[in-house]
């Protein structure tokens, strides 16, 4: 389990990294946290001829609020999202619920959110989060930067819209302000087997409530298809209804019916489909409860830019 030989470069400037990658885009790979890439290289399923290590590019190591989005640089590690203060309000709460379920502390210390999106494992928690939130994904290549919506970014298992000569430079997660539109509640549930395993299914739920009625619903699913998806039908069903158990159950059934999960040794298609339904319902319940407590502690919960630290 030792990697095949490769060339290595670790520039300090983004432009140099872009240039290095552009020289042989088909055989080069970007090295971020390495927590997926190096593993694959051990099995020699990945044999890049050149590694462009971006860990020295300081400008990528940032998390900043940028207008109405949180701009997460390519070097922001999973760990940075463990505490809710990483982002204002509901977004911070959501990210801090998701992060602790990704691997374990030593892997979270290295692995990056951007790397997870670039890798596009269909059961990745961050990928489900990105589609749920309609994140913007910034790609930088020799021709400059472009922004791709998460909905268009994921093309299949480990396949994305990123061109081989592009670096994923940042992820833009819309803040979930609520204040004018209503109260935002977030929920996150996943089914995994042991603390060491990946999720079989994960569900991100974001509900915006006004006057006791759901005005917006976002459901991001991991493990429900060959890529992260939103449960659009279930979302439509929720909007305009009250956050009641049978409404959640109906939404859950729609999400399960619409899913097209892949089979794996210990979770056949039927089981996964069923789990999607259960977790959608549970995540929705969590989101409602979260919105209630957010409402109660209004400040930080609703718009609370206070209590939030930029990095």
């Amino acid at each position: 389990m030792k990697p095949a030989p490769f060339d290595y470069t670790a520039p300090a400037e983004l432009s140099d990294a872009v240039t290095a990658l552009a020289e042989r885009p088909e055989t080069a790979r970007v090295l971020a946290g390495g927590q997926s890439l190096v593993l694959e290289m051990h099995y020699r399923r990945e044999r890049p001829a050149l590694l462009v290590d971006i860990n020295n590019v300081r400008e990528l190591d940032t998390i900043t609020a940028d207008g109405d989005a949180l701009r997460v640089g390519a070097l922001a590690r999973h760990r940075a999202f463990e505490t809710p203060t990483v982002a204002p309000g509901a977004l911070g709460r959501l990210l801090s619920r998701v992060s602790p379920l990704i691997a374990h502390p030593p892997v979270r210390a290295r692995g990056t959110m951007a790397g997870s999106l670039a890798w596009a494992n269909p059961v990745s928690e961050w990928c489900a989060t990105a589609v749920a939130l309609d994140a913007g994904i910034e790609l930088t290549g020799p021709a400059g930067s472009r922004l791709v919506g998460a909905g268009e970014f994921f093309l299949g298992p480990f396949r994305t819209a990123r061109q081989p000569d592009e670096i994923l430079t940042s992820v833009r997660l819309p803040l979930l302000p609520g204040a004018e539109t209503g109260t935002v509640g977030v929920g996150f549930c996943e089914q995994h087997r042991t603390h060491a395993s990946f999720a079989q299914v994960a569900v991100v739920a974001v509900l915006t409530l006004r006057d006791g009625v759901i005005v917006e619903a976002r459901l991001g699913l991991a493990g429900a298809a060959d890529r992260p998806v939103r449960a659009h039908e279930a979302e439509r069903h929720l909007v305009g209804r009250e956050p009641e158990p049978d409404v959640f159950a109906q939404a859950a059934a729609l999400a399960a019916a619409g899913a097209d999960p892949l089979s794996e040794p210990h979770a056949g298609v039927e089981y996964r489909r069923h789990v999607i339904g259960v977790l959608v319902r549970r995540a929705l319940v969590q989101a409602r409860e979260d919105s209630e407590s957010a409402d109660f502690f209004s400040g930080a919960g609703r718009d609370g830019h206070d209590g939030w630290e930029a990095r």
Partner: protein
């Protein structure tokens, strides 16, 4: 850059000048080039944690980093804990509490715990957080109980930890 690359690694505050292929894992370079064999390789894919070392104070898998990535960084291995000839309090505790049998996983657990609890000793006060941390690594022999007890012995409420992180016994 092709072929071998000269790198200066700082391990346990000691500089090591090595010339290595970029593909060589930090773990292999520590073991083979720096003769620091306390760090073990149990899976080479990030799961078992036998290879856990501290890089800039954080516990990481040395099987998922290349040595060439670590130039200029502060690397700590299990050997660094005993530099003055005395065992670290947590090492003492893990032995006293039967936290090891074959010992293959031990260095990884020691670095995991020492790294995390140095930064935040309150982890030991919350059983859930402590399990969350210890669940990072695998031990096939002990059933973990002795490892957990060892953490509490040193870092727990009535633990022996003192301000400087060493213990009386």
């Amino acid at each position: 850059m092709t072929g071998r690359i000269p790198v200066r690694l700082t391990v346990n505050e000691t500089p090591y000048d090595v010339t290595v292929e970029p593909r060589r894992l930090l773990a292999d370079v520590l073991r083979e080039d720096c003769d620091l064999t306390g760090t073990k390789l149990g899976c080479e894919h990030g799961v078992c944690g036998s290879c856990t070392v501290l890089v800039d104070g954080e516990g990481v898998r040395s099987c998922l980093m290349f040595a060439v990535q670590c130039a200029g960084r502060d690397i700590r291995t299990v050997e660094g804990l005993t530099a003055d000839g005395e065992l670290h309090a947590f090492q003492e505790a893990i032995s006293a509490e039967h936290g090891l049998q074959c010992g293959f996983c031990t260095a990884g657990f020691v670095m995991l715990v020492v790294g995390a609890l140095q930064e935040d000793p309150t982890i030991a006060e919350d059983p859930e957080r402590l399990d969350g941390l210890l669940a990072s690594n695998l031990c096939r022999c002990t059933g973990y109980e002795g490892i957990r007890r060892a953490v509490l012995r040193v870092y727990g409420k009535d633990g022996t930890r003192q301000e400087n992180g060493t213990a009386e016994d």
